[in-house]
């Protein structure tokens, strides 16, 4: 790796010191101290290895724990020994003859720090001693600082202004305390400031070289904290979490915001943090294979390759140039995308225009255009420059809308609501209607498709007729052979199972008279219909009648041909009769399949599904494929919260998987009328109110539906009250309220649903009555329609369905007998009550 130079020394290095000019370094290890030359490009050279002569007096051994280069006298350095002695030695002296030796500490010395001619040493015995190296012998110990804070792990002098002596220093000790001492108060038992820095040992402290009062501390609790003792020594300004114990923390000599840290345990990297962006390190230097013991910033001016000097137990000293670092910000994702379903398909992307150089929120300096592409060299140069160029970090998220040609939610919604897919119109009329709807939205190609389908499939009606025997009454008789309207009735739900294999998807049945029509005959829809008893006829929408043809394929071809003819020749021409036509074969089903495939391909699944639903089984679509279309469409509808359209599709599609959707998602609950809490159905007991409801007439517990007057609050079983109010208007409880005389009852806008509780609420009733207009209240209900339970289409989404259904279920009769009883002409008053209870229940919800 370029920019990384290393050298091996004799054994594991425990400390480092750099010379004032940055050209040399000392690496202290157990048996020797090595002088290294850093300024050589390409490598670090070992200049001298200093090793003490073996001496019998172990007290004279200088097994160094720490070294520090004296900046005042660059030929001298200090070493703190494991024995507790502090020695002042000459740089480069191979025999390590000591200039001076100070012994005071009783345990090993952890740190030595020069301050001019003064030397400070901190030791495991908890003492900090200040030595004046100009003195000799025992007078050298000028001051001791002892506090009960335990072994001292690190020391740092306060940076003074040039010329001034430094006056304060900070120590980091075992007791989680970083203590600031003042030289002028030597001998004091307690420090000037004591910062409870960490929750574990304070392993390292460093005073900021430029900002008075700022100290960084690193602890074994894996935190690095920056304190400002001038402002507030209780809370740190910044807390940085690191991966493992922060054994050495050092401010950068020139950049005010950079802190380097390394760990003495598992993490073998040196991290450079910008204290303003405390979550991700700015740069990471690696290169060692064993635990790190020391590191130093190595970037004095004039050096070609500023970098970081680090030493480790793997007996190597590595100098890594800034450019060789890894920059974690480069591998962090800075943009994200999300498509939305809303109008004009929004895309969200998050920007952090990361200033890859620093990666922090910073103001813009300098007018230069920012570095747009992250490149290590660009970073390296800008990272540690004196006049860096930064770019603002955007912590914004951008919503972009209006993607052309893609899914337009407004059109989708409009068409979902306005397409006629239910077969209430004839095929051709449905297609025309849908074409108009599509054209109104500007989807001309879709509109054209609909019109083509109208032509192709024209007035062909459903495959199977069956004479709906007896059910639904009027529809049967209405379609007399002579009556002009052979209207198709919408029969809700898949109630025609098992009748005939050939059902239309939406239960489309054509009513017709049973006289003269042969089985399997096809009648016709449309504006005019004439039935000829002896022939099967097909008529096109414009009034043509084509001779009946048995074979379906031929019939469809005939229809196509007729369409062509009709188109060509206009209205009124070409009344072709009877079965002797030979028409060219054209199976257009395949073409329609391709049309569907095309629409699916461009993402317009709405058109696919609409076509499939209108054409029904004529389309002969592969069941699996159709199912995918349906599910895809339902998913899109759900995203846009078009619940009515969802249930419309679910109910009309003849596919078990699809129609099961309604049954899966709906649940019905019963709730208490007083408090609205869910009732325990087994006992009909409301836990909250702690009561049963008793019927005012029979005094029995009301299980199920409960009807009450809004005025006086009395109520009971619906049947009993109905009977009562048939004869009287007074409240049965004797409270004097005239329950039945309230003339302000408004019509309920919605049809009453006497559906039974539970599943039946979602499934259509078996009665083939049309979704009639809302029953008028307060008036005599016409007998032909009166009392017949009207099915209300479930048009709610899953959640709302539960609630509304609950309201409905609770307000209506809970058993089949109610349906029977409701066929009697219902009394107005109970209906009023019901409607009011319905409305009030709904308001409550």
């Amino acid at each position: 790796m370029s920019g990384v130079r290393s050298v091996r020394v004799r054994d594991s290095v425990s400390a480092l010191a750099t010379s004032p000019d940055g050209r040399h370094a000392l690496a202290a290890s157990k048996t020797s101290v090595t002088l290294l030359e850093l300024d050589m490009p390409g490598s670090i050279k070992t200049v001298t290895t200093m090793a003490p002569a073996k001496s019998r007096n172990r007290k004279k051994d200088v097994t160094c724990n720490d070294v520090d280069w004296c900046y005042a006298r660059p030929e001298v350095f200090a070493a703190g020994a494991v024995t507790g002695a502090v020695a002042v030695l000459n740089v480069g002296d191979e025999k390590m003859t000591k200039r001076a030796m100070y012994t005071f500490h009783t345990r090993f010395v952890n740190r030595v720090q020069w301050n001019g001619e003064l030397l400070l040493s901190g030791s495991q015995d908890g003492l900090v001693c200040l030595w004046d190296t100009r003195m000799q012998g025992s007078e050298a110990c000028v001051a001791t600082f002892a506090s009960k804070t335990g072994p001292v792990h690190d020391l740092s002098w306060e940076p003074g202004t040039p010329g001034d002596t430094h006056l304060k220093f900070v120590t980091g000790t075992t007791n989680n305390v970083a203590a600031v001492w003042d030289l002028r108060r030597a001998g004091a038992k307690r420090p000037v400031h004591a910062i409870f820095a960490h929750s574990d040992l304070v392993l390292s402290v460093h005073w900021h070289p430029h900002h008075a009062g700022k100290i960084v501390t690193g602890g074994r609790d894996k935190l690095i904290k920056v304190w400002n003792i001038d402002a507030d020594s209780k809370t740190p300004e910044v807390t940085i979490q690191t991966a493992s114990a922060a054994a050495v923390v050092r401010w950068h000599p020139t950049h005010a915001h950079l802190v380097g840290s390394c760990s003495n345990t598992t993490d073998l990297n040196i991290h450079v943090w910008d204290v303003r962006s405390k979550y991700v390190p700015l740069a990471t230097f690696s290169g060692h294979t064993d635990q790190l013991t020391a590191f130093k910033w190595c970037s004095p001016p004039g050096i070609d390759h500023p970098g970081v000097l680090s030493a480790s137990r793997d007996a190597s000293v590595v100098c890594s140039a800034y450019g060789s670092a890894k920059f974690p910000y480069a591998s962090l994702p800075s943009t994200a995308l999300a498509f939305s379903v809303n109008a004009s398909a929004q895309v969200v992307s998050s920007h952090a225009y990361v200033d890859r150089a620093i990666g922090t929120p910073m103001a813009v300096f300098g007018p230069d255009p920012p570095v747009s592409l992250f490149s290590p060299s660009a970073v390296a140069s800008s990272l540690f420059d004196d006049a860096p160029v930064f770019r603002p970090v955007k912590r914004e998220v951008t919503l972009c809308g209006g993607l052309d040609g893609e899914f337009d939610a407004d059109t989708f919604r409009y068409l979902a609501k306005n397409y006629k897919l239910d077969g209430s119109l004839s095929m051709a009329a449905s297609c025309e209607h849908n074409a108009a709807a599509a054209a109104s939205q500007g989807c001309d190609d879709v509109a054209t498709t609909w019109r083509m389908l109208a032509l192709l499939y024209g007035d062909e009606e459903s495959e199977s007729e069956e004479i709906p025997g007896g059910e639904g009454g009027e529809s049967n008789s209405a379609a007399a052979a002579t009556a002009p309207k052979a209207s198709a009735r919408w029969h809700p739900g898949p109630d025609s199972d098992g009748d005939d294999g050939d059902n239309d998807d939406y239960g489309f049945k054509v009513d017709m008279s049973d006289e003269g029509m042969m089985p399997g005959a096809r009648t016709f829809l449309g504006t005019e219909s004439v039935s000829h008893p002896n022939s099967r006829m097909i008529s096109l929408g414009s009034g043509y009648i084509l001779g009946g043809l048995d074979d379906e394929a031929v019939r469809s071809k005939a229809a196509a041909q007729a369409a062509a003819v009709a188109a060509a020749s206009g209205r009124g021409a070409g009344r072709m009769a009877k079965a002797s036509l030979t028409l060219p074969a054209w199976d257009h089903t395949q073409v329609v399949h391709q049309v569907l495939h095309h629409y699916a391909g461009i993402g317009d699944v709405q058109t696919c599904v609409a076509i499939a639903m209108v054409l029904g089984s004529r389309l002969q679509l592969d069941k699996e494929l159709a199912r995918q279309y349906y599910f895809g469409y339902i998913e899109l509808l759900q995203r846009l919260k078009l619940w009515l359209a969802v249930t419309e599709v679910v109910r009309m599609v003849d596919d078990e998987a699809v129609s099961m959707l309604n049954q899966k998602d709906t649940s019905v609950k019963f709730s208490c009328t007083s408090c609205g809490d869910a009732l325990d159905v087994r006992g009909w007991f409301c836990a909250k109110c702690a009561e049963f409801k008793r019927c005012v007439l029979c005094q029995q517990r009301v299980r199920g539906a409960w009807v009450w007057c809004q005025g006086c609050g009395h109520g009971g079983h619906p049947d009993h009250l109905r009977e009562w109010f048939a004869n009287s208007k007074q409240c049965p409880s004797g409270c004097g309220h005239a329950c039945g005389l309230d003339t302000k009852a408004k019509r309920s806008k919605r049809a009453r649903v006497p559906a039974s509780a539970g599943r039946a609420a979602t499934r259509a009733s078996d009665d083939p009555s049309p979704p009639a207009a809302p029953l008028p209240l307060g008036k005599q209900v016409p007998p032909s329609r009166g009392g017949r339970p009207v099915t209300r289409p479930t048009t709610w989404g899953p959640r709302r369905g539960a609630r509304a259904a609950a309201a409905v279920a609770a307000a209506s009769a809970a058993s089949a007998e109610s349906r029977a009883s409701s066929t009697k002409s219902s009394t107005e008053s109970s209906k009023k009550e019901k409607s009011r209870s319905l409305r009030s229940r709904r308001k409550k919800r």
Binding site: Q241, T335, Y353, C400, G603
Partner: protein, 307 residues
């Protein structure tokens, strides 16, 4: 194209932003260890709910299908995946914490709701974890170890289609064909891998290995599919290439390199109907690509924000 900037108020980089199922809420994940949930419409617009639970930069968020309630998952550098649920409007609690990964969890994705509440998480330790919860049981985790050697960067689920819907014209008449769980993952070994859950063996098997990229695969996305017999996957690599892989009825995946970008594409994403592919580059520009009729992918437009 009109662009609207939203000031998130995060203190550090924003790494991910996702809109929920209905497009009404936005969740953002940031390096300041918080996730913020913004309401895009309504009175509470602009006042985010702040979710604190991670202790390191949060890389990604993902919204679950609304049928499970208001649920959100977030993954972070602190090796955890947190699943949040909105108990009352505006207040979110952690309902599940997954911390078995040995490295930063880089990516999460919820499976299609037909499979239930299932979440896939890819981590820097190379493992792919599938976390799921059913009504009856509690949260269970299945781990695919060594999905990618150095780390998994991105996962994406295939849309729920019946088994064999892609490969054969055979239909399942009962309508209850088993839905096949498939997902695609991209990782630091430059590979895109497709995994399939085999119900017979009750474990995840590698279905295919797609090799093309020469550098880390940063993002993969499986296109939503409506009724088309093809499967389409897009992958973006650190080498600047965006590749679209597609498979029809044959088991072989064919690839098309649609773009060679100068900036590292950080993420790819398909639109809801699977027609448009959006590619986000490192400089914040988003380009949109669309396949035209002869199978060529063209750049349709570019979205940038006005600085």
């Amino acid at each position: 194209m009109a662009a609207q900037g939203i000031e998130t108020g995060h203190e550090d980089m924003v790494h991910d932003a996702q809109l929920d199922y209905y497009g009404k809420r936005l969740a953002t994940a940031s390096s300041d260890t918080t996730v913020k949930v913004f309401d895009m419409v309504g009175e509470a617009k602009g006042q985010p709910a702040v979710l604190n639970g991670h202790s390191a930069p949060v890389w990604a968020v993902a919204w679950a299908h609304p049928m499970f309630g208001s649920m959100l998952a977030s993954c972070s550098y602190d090796k955890k995946v947190l699943v949040w649920k909105e108990e009352t409007a505006g207040s979110w609690v952690v309902v599940y914490e997954f911390s078995e990964a040995a490295g930063s969890v880089n990516t999460i994705a919820w499976a299609p709701h037909e499979f239930g509440l299932v979440l896939a998480a890819g981590s820097s330790d190379g493992s792919l974890s599938i976390i799921s919860k059913t009504e009856a049981t509690d949260w269970t985790v299945t781990v695919v170890k060594d999905a990618h050697r150095v780390g998994v960067n991105s996962v994406s689920w295939a849309p729920a289609l019946p088994e064999g819907a892609l490969t054969s014209a055979g239909k399942a008449d009962d309508g209850s064909a088993a839905l096949c769980q498939r997902l695609v993952s991209g990782g630091c070994d430059n590979m895109v891998r497709i995994w399939r859950y085999s119900t017979q063996e009750s474990r995840w098997l590698q279905d295919a290995e797609l090799a093309h990229h020469t550098e880390w695969v940063r993002s993969v996305a499986w296109a939503p599919n409506v009724g088309l017999p093809t499967s389409t996957i897009a992958s973006a690599g650190q080498d600047g290439e965006v590749v679209v892989w597609s498979r029809g009825s044959e088991p072989h995946w064919s690839k098309t390199v649609i773009a060679q970008l100068t900036e590292t594409p950080w993420s790819v994403s398909f639109s809801l109907t699977g027609n448009i592919l959006a590619v986000a580059g490192a400089d914040g520009a988003v380009t949109l690509w669309k396949e035209d009729l002869d199978g060529e992918w063209r750049q349709v437009s570019t979205l940038t924000d006005e600085a």
